[in-house]
Amino acid sequence: MGDKKDVWQGTLALMVLKTLETMGPLHGYGIARRIEQTSGDLLALNYGTLYPALLKLEQEGSIASEWGTSDNNRKAKFYSLTRAGRKQLRQEARDWEQTTSILARFLTPDEEQA
């Protein structure tokens, strides 16, 4: 797994938000697994870094948490997107798309000028 990519600074939050939007309420382990799966196992996510990120999002009011029971009957904390979280997700997704499209212009060969 030597050529897996590390998670870029600041993108983890966006991934968490998007995951919660797609999957609905989910526990920490589930979020971690889902992020890895979505990335097609290209990302090396240190699961430990996920929890402070979740706490930060919760402190900012983007997600909420609640104790519940998992599929195999374990007590787990479930995170869900709040209304503010949805707004943040839309905003950050837009920003991200803009950033990548700008970068894309730099990196793709300039055919249009021809």
Binding site: H27, N46, G48, T49, P52, E60, S62, S70, R74, K77
Partner: protein, 881 residues
């Protein structure tokens, strides 16, 4: 917005830390379990599954740590930890905490309270426009450097000066008002029309005086002070334009002054009338009753202004015989108002700073002792990984907590002290110091308190660092023998204690000198018997009593009435009570001696026949006045000893004649008696020559009634007042009091007494703190040397020599402290020479007494530890280590 919300949540998170951490432990456990389950399902063994799960997580403890840090604010949390640790430490050692906080609060509180007075009097600007350009202008003669100004001279100065944009004048007065509850007296003033414009004060209601409203032909106009407006008109705006009768004359109210306006040279005047030259005084160049106030032109200094006015005065001197010897004085208005109070306030502030210094030294040495005994603790914390920065922060937290606690205490204490000090000032005195009304914990005072607290806090957070080295952790840990550290500390502690003792000596000497001054002042020769005298001031209305013949019948009636009261031995009137001031003077000339227009200035008092029998000065020669010394009989005069010595050296003054500068027939009087110098001046001034003239031959519309009573004079005052009112219903009364209380409340007595008491209080505290400090140092030194003392005793030292060992250490410190203190205090006393009365700055007996007191106190403070040292059991001492 999101960031702010997160910050708040984290801050609050400090409180819910434990619950959150418990919850997270559960959460992370579930997480690991889930992954183990998954791993097992994908075919790993249980052991492998667990290992992989933990690896994937990056360690449980690491995750918990990251989570914890995100949950709260690590910096705030560690400060919070320091605070909690500090509080635990202080609570564990309440004696130290209480002592340090109280001692420090005393020092801080005293400085803050006194600073509030300094702020109100010396820092807060006077309530005028551009007050630094205002000057006090008046006439000056050799005998009275700041005399009053005559109306005619004022007119000439106003016209002829080249240095003022405007010059105005004022004089105090009092007005009687007819009210439903009887005749009442109100303090007032008469001011020239431009007075308020010169000061730059604008009435808040109505208008200022018109430029010519102070001329003889103008209608009478009066402006109310804010207090007067509230008192007489309950603050009604329709007061403007109303008429009011003051001392029988009708005035129209034209304006109301701002609430913060005051003019300290004339206390709390309620009615400010335009200064019309209606009185007899204003028509004579030789009658001085005004104070001049002027605004300097731009770029003109006080010195330039003075030179100009002196040259104007010199021209007038050449022009008019009455002006002979009269020059001019110009000084900043603020100085003329504050000249008495400034040195006292600065002295008190200095004393408070010294007290604060002692308090700081005391607390610093307490902190040093503590840091000494905490060396081990610090070494342990260092060994466990606390860096120097972290340890310094801990010490600073401790310093700031101590100072913060004592600052709160000090602010509360100083607020109380201000109230108490203000309430101790007699009402009349406070009237002359209206600026003290604004003594309060305002922004400047709080800033001062904050600055002092910060300074002290920094000092205290650095103090322990002096003695704690962070690099020698091993030394600290291995510290089983306390001897070495003790010596090093003793040297520093000894220096501190010398500073403390020296400061205490300075305060004690200053207090001693002030106390002695006050003693001398209150035992000044009065020249009469002040006990059993009751007095009241009486004022006739301005209208209907212009002539002696009109004044004398009601005066006689008053005298008859009050003399007949039960318990009255004798009754008299005088134009000026003793111990009031040198003033109300006249110029005399001697019949049969050459005269060159010189001004022989003497106090003049017009007194009724019984005056001397009532106040009982001793008669040196001749006789007292009798009932027949009236207008129908030849003029007579009684002189005081000073006048006899000054103008009749080696001669018998009896039978000689004196008169006014013209020797007019009406003024000629024969000297019929000489009385011993009876004190007319304040207690701290020189006696001047004085003439006493029968009231029947020279009446006045303002005078005081004096009674000698056989019972307590206080008890006579109500009957005295009602008797005066019955005898002369249209006369107003004021300032009823006993003679002894008048003297003890007089300004000079009051200022000396209050400064002596306050500095005495400082000195007492300083002595206590210094002695406690000395005790602490010696006791600590003994406790550090227990082993050494044990060895000495085991080797055969006698108990006496152990006493000597300890006491000589204390003696040495005390000796050096006292010597340094004496040197400093002679210097300090020289600076406050002006505040001393009848005592030299190097007063030997005071210095000796202070040295003795301090030495005795030090002896006691060092005897107790010495006894403990001498009672050491050598076996126990050697075994203890």
């Amino acid at each position: 917005m999101r960031t702010l919300r997160a910050a708040l949540t984290r801050l609050l998170g400090i409180c819910s830390r434990h619950r959150r951490e418990d919850e997270f432990a559960t959460e992370i456990e579930t997480h690991v379990q889930m992954q183990i389950d998954d791993n097992v399902r994908s075919g790993m063994s249980l052991e492998e599954a667990r290992r992989a799960a933990l690896m994937k997580l990056g360690g449980v403890e690491q995750t918990k740590q990251a989570y914890r840090e995100r949950g709260t604010m690590p910096l705030v949390e560690s400060v919070w930890q320091d605070l909690r640790f500090t509080f635990r430490q202080l609570i564990k050692n309440p004696a130290f905490a209480v002592t340090a906080i109280v001692v420090l609060a005393l020092g801080l509180g005293a400085s803050v309270a006194i600073f509030a007075f300094v702020d109100a009097a010396l820092i807060k600007p006077l309530p005028y426009r551009d007050p630094s350009r205002l000057v006090y202008v008046t006439e000056s003669v050799p005998m009275i450097p700041l005399a009053n100004l005559s109306y005619m001279d004022y007119q000439d100065w106003k016209k002829q000066n080249r240095v003022f944009t405007s010059m105005d004048a004022m004089t105090g007065s009092a007005y009687s008002l007819n009210t439903p509850s009887g005749l009442q007296l109100a303090p007032g003033a008469r001011v020239s029309a431009g007075f308020f414009r010169t000061l730059g004060v604008v009435p808040i209601l109505g208008r200022d005086f018109l430029p010519n409203e102070d001329s003889l032909s103008a209608a009478h106009a009066v402006i109310l002070s804010y207090n007067g407006w509230q008192k007489w008109f309950a603050g009604r705006p329709d007061a403007i334009g109303q008429s009011i009768t003051l001392s029988g004359v009708t005035y129209t109210i034209v304006g109301v002054l701002p609430q913060d306006f005051h003019f300290a040279l004339r206390g709390r005047a309620e009615f400010w009338a335009a200064l019309q030259p209606v009185g007899g005084c204003e028509k004579r160049r030789s009658c001085h009753n005004l104070i001049g106030v002027a605004r300097l032109k731009d770029g003109v200094s006080v010195a330039t202004a003075k030179a100009d006015l002196v040259s104007v005065a010199r021209q007038l001197e050449a022009q008019y015989a009455e002006n002979k010897g009269q020059s001019a004085a110009v000084l900043p208005l603020s100085e003329s108002i504050l000249k008495n109070i400034r040195p006292i306030l600065l002295l008190l502030l200095g004393g408070a700073f010294l007290l604060l210094l002692i308090a700081c030294v005391n607390v610093a040495s307490l902190l040093l002792v503590r840091s000494e005994s905490r060396k081990r603790e610090i070494a342990v914390r260092g060994a466990l990984g606390a860096g120097p920065a972290r340890l310094i922060r801990q010490f600073m937290t401790e310093g700031f907590v101590l100072v913060a606690a004592s600052s709160v205490l000090a602010l509360a204490g100083s607020y109380a002290a201000m109230r108490v000090l203000l309430s101790l000032i007699p009402k009349d005195m406070l009237g002359n110091m209206p600026y003290l009304q604004s003594v309060e914990l305002n922004g400047r005072v709080l800033a001062f308190a904050g600055a002092m607290a910060l300074l002290v806090a920094i000092l205290f957070s650095l103090t322990p660092l002096l003695r704690v080295s962070f690099s020698h952790v091993r030394d600290g840990l291995g510290q089983s023998n306390r001897g070495y550290a003790g010596t090093a500390w003793r040297r520093l502690g000894a220096n501190l204690i010398v500073v403390e003792l020296a400061t205490a000596v300075v305060l004690l000497v200053v207090a001693g000198l002030l106390g002695k001054s006050f003693y001398k002042l209150s035992h000044v020769e009065l020249g009469f018997q002040p006990d059993h005298l009751a007095t009241v001031g009486v004022m006739a209305p301005d209208v209907g009593y212009e002539k002696d013949e009109q004044l004398l019948p009601p005066t006689r009636k008053i005298l008859e009435r009050v003399a007949a009261l039960p318990g009255v031995q004798s009754a008299a009137v005088t134009t000026m009570l003793p111990v009031t001031y040198n003033g109300n003077t006249t110029w005399i000339r001697f019949v049969g001696r050459p005269f060159h227009g010189e001004h022989n200035e003497v106090n003049e008092r017009d007194v009724s026949a019984n005056y001397f029998q009532t106040i009982k000065p001793s008669l040196i020669s001749g006789r007292y006045f009798t009932e027949t010394d009236d207008a129908k009989h030849p003029g007579v005069v009684i002189i005081n000893r000073k006048l006899a010595n000054q103008y009749f050296p080696g001669e018998d003054p009896l039978g000689k004649q004196i008169g006014d500068t013209e020797l007019s027939a009406k003024s000629l009087r024969q000297i019929v008696g000489v009385v011993d110098d009876l004190r007319e001046s304040p207690l701290d001034e020189q006696t001047w020559p004085a003439v006493y003239i029968p009231f029947e031959q020279s009446a006045s519309s303002e005078f005081s009634v004096v009674l000698r009573t056989s019972q307590a004079p206080e008890a006579m005052i109500p009957t005295l007042l009602s008797a005066v009112h019955q005898a002369a219903p249209d006369f107003a009364t004021l300032d009823e009091d006993t003679m002894e209380r008048r003297i003890s409340d007089s300004e000079s007595a009051y200022l000396h007494r209050s400064s002596a008491w306050l500095v005495g209080g400082y000195a007492g505290l300083a002595l206590l703190l210094a002695v406690v400090g000395l005790y602490g140092v010696i006791a600590y030194s003994v406790s550090q040397r227990t082993r050494e003392i044990g060895v000495r005793m085991a080797l055969g030292a006698q108990r006496a020599s152990v006493y000597q060992l300890v006491m000589s250490e204390a003696g040495w410190l005390t000796g050096v402290g006292i010597l340094a203190g004496l040197l400093c205090s002679v210097g300090a006393a020289a600076l406050m020479r002006k505040l001393l009365f009848g005592v030299q700055a190097w007063d030997f007996s005071t210095l000796l007494a202070v040295s003795f007191v301090l030495a005795a106190a030090a002896l006691v403070a060092s005897y107790l530890p010495a006894r403990r040292a001498a009672s050491v059991n050598p076996v126990d001492a050697l075994r203890a280590e």
